[in-house]
Symmetry: D3
Subunit: 140 residues, 6 copies
């Protein structure tokens, strides 16, 4: 049983806002992240799959397939986008998630888990900056 | 004569658009960076000053002053901002600059150069991503 | 359930010495780290908390509170200090810990665990250099 | 119980080829990694051991011994080598492993686990590039 | 006048050998790099161009064109190759260059300089490892 | 003409103090760096030499010789030392230098320049932290 991790990057913008909060609450909870014009990050995504090594190939997962799934399900949808306006998990009206790093990790897990075949999704890690990252293992 | 460099980071969003281009030209020249909702980056700024070492302090520049100038003139204005809408160099109507990494380096030079006293500004480096950066030395 | 990690840095000096060892034993076990003048490192601290995401904020923990706790309990006490002389865990006479990376991780856990409220401390990681780090999960 | 990790680097070349595959299959499965002349990487190895902290030394493991074991068992054998021709796990005829990152992690585990004494091997991580790494915990 | 730098990576293998040296000289001068099976690296290439910023685009160079030139002239030829056997500068019989980091930087300069149009090639930097790199500015 | 750079690290402690300053001046100018117990850093040293590539070896400098000079002249003297007490440039009474990053770069230049033979010393860069570094080119 081995765990293989592949990194990728995407650049996106976001802001934090809860429509059920008053403006003061939004400012107090979210500070400068509440700016509705948005601001952005170079996000780093690490996707870890686990599985047995195929003795014929030496691979736990076909890297090209993993890369394609990551590109199609995540990067194409998130890269160079304003998350609050252009990514459904964060932009539809009812119910929606605030695009924090925590929720990004959960949303990416939900996109990837059903699309991976040979190997099992083990962990999604998202770095918002080099100093802040979130791990999600699919735990309820 | 020594050269001292200090790094700082800011997160901002931007997009590329020339109002004198047709939509097709904007798309051809700027590609996915033309998305008007903006996208973002964790920019890394490196400011280099040159000067003689003060024998009393061993410093070429008072680091606290340098940090304060960088914060006041650049970080406070750029961090968590949509550059095209909130930073004058990139948002006023006539004439304005497109917020490319090249123009960010030039704009930051113009903000810092007149505010540094003891030491002379030598270079402004801006990383848009770890794989792309621009240096500006104040050359015409 | 998500795991959020925040990094911070501090610069400190230390040396390794067991007063119950002979000078020869101290030299054999600790080598050049036994130099009583001390030497130093840029330590990197990673603090990981786990918890459920608050649906109102999208946060597992208030980042500002986490940062404040890390600053008050660890950085203010350790940064720009000689650990063997100025930090109680490593400087009081009886009984004391040698300020190895292992013991730094344990001491930092003990400082942080009782101060975190909303989210639970999950892991403390301390890098002494980029090539050496220790993880502590609070396991006996 | 603490977990201590030490990094090291080695430079090696390899290629991927299964002699039971047809040339077309080798090309389809391995792509440009199938080039029999080999290509190379700066591999980064992270070895994690777990154990209790010795109260006399403050160490979970004697770092010099750990470094010596890593050098003798892994770096001396792998560094500046063509893995498919010069490292037994990947070069002997029957049966052999393809030198993928997955199999490198497993082979390194098998080399290190029986040689570590005071502390127990917990994880072997191998980076093939900064964007791709494999973890092995000795799980069947 | 600004200087824009773009990074890229390639993985290749090489060895050092001068056919005019005796085996002893080759061993003395090149050490373990003389192993004829080759060993490998994840090379990092930084290409810097200089030029004026086009006021219409804000660019000193069309990044897509720069990327295409780097891929076509360097990466496609060097990546996943054994430099001594597959790259003409290092593999043809008379006269040839030893594929040291120094000569890699010079060879890459010669490939890129005639292909860049809008902006002028200013510097080629090649990292063999994170701890060793060479800069070439086209100086005789 | 190529420029080759080699990195190395050392861990040391230091503090800033000018005996001609009053305690208040020392505190005002040096802040928490004035703590006489010292604090420490993992310094990164980059040494750049320039010269012509020897066509027989492909080298601008014998890397082993460069490494030996760096170890003997700098690392052996600075690593695991309290600079103010154990390194002559910073510890002798009259006249002495305050061990700032600026003065470290100058002191290292003076140690290395006379010892390098084949290639010429071009630049000494010293990182005190990843966010602060000084370059010295031997300019008066």
């Amino acid at each position: 049983m081995v765990y293989l991790t592949r990194k990728a990057e995407f650049s996106a913008s976001h802001y934090y806002h809860n429509p059920e909060f008053t403006p003061d609450e939004n400012q107090r909870v979210f500070g400068k992240c509440n700016n509705p014009n948005g601001h952005g990050h170079n996000y780093t995504l690490e996707v870890t799959v686990k599985g047995k090594v195929d003795p014929k190939s030496g691979f736990v997962v076909d890297l090209k397939q993993l890369k394609d799934v990551m590109s199609r399900e995540v990067l194409d949808a998130f890269d160079h986008r304003f998350l609050n306006k252009e990514v459904p998990e964060f932009s539809t009206d009812v119910p929606t998630m605030i695009p924090t790093t925590e929720n990004l990790a959960i949303a990416i897990w939900r996109r990837l888990a059903p699309k991976l075949k040979a190997a099992q999704l083990y962990r999604v890690r998202v770095y918002e900056t080099p100093d802040l990252f979130v791990d999600f293992y699919g735990e309820a």
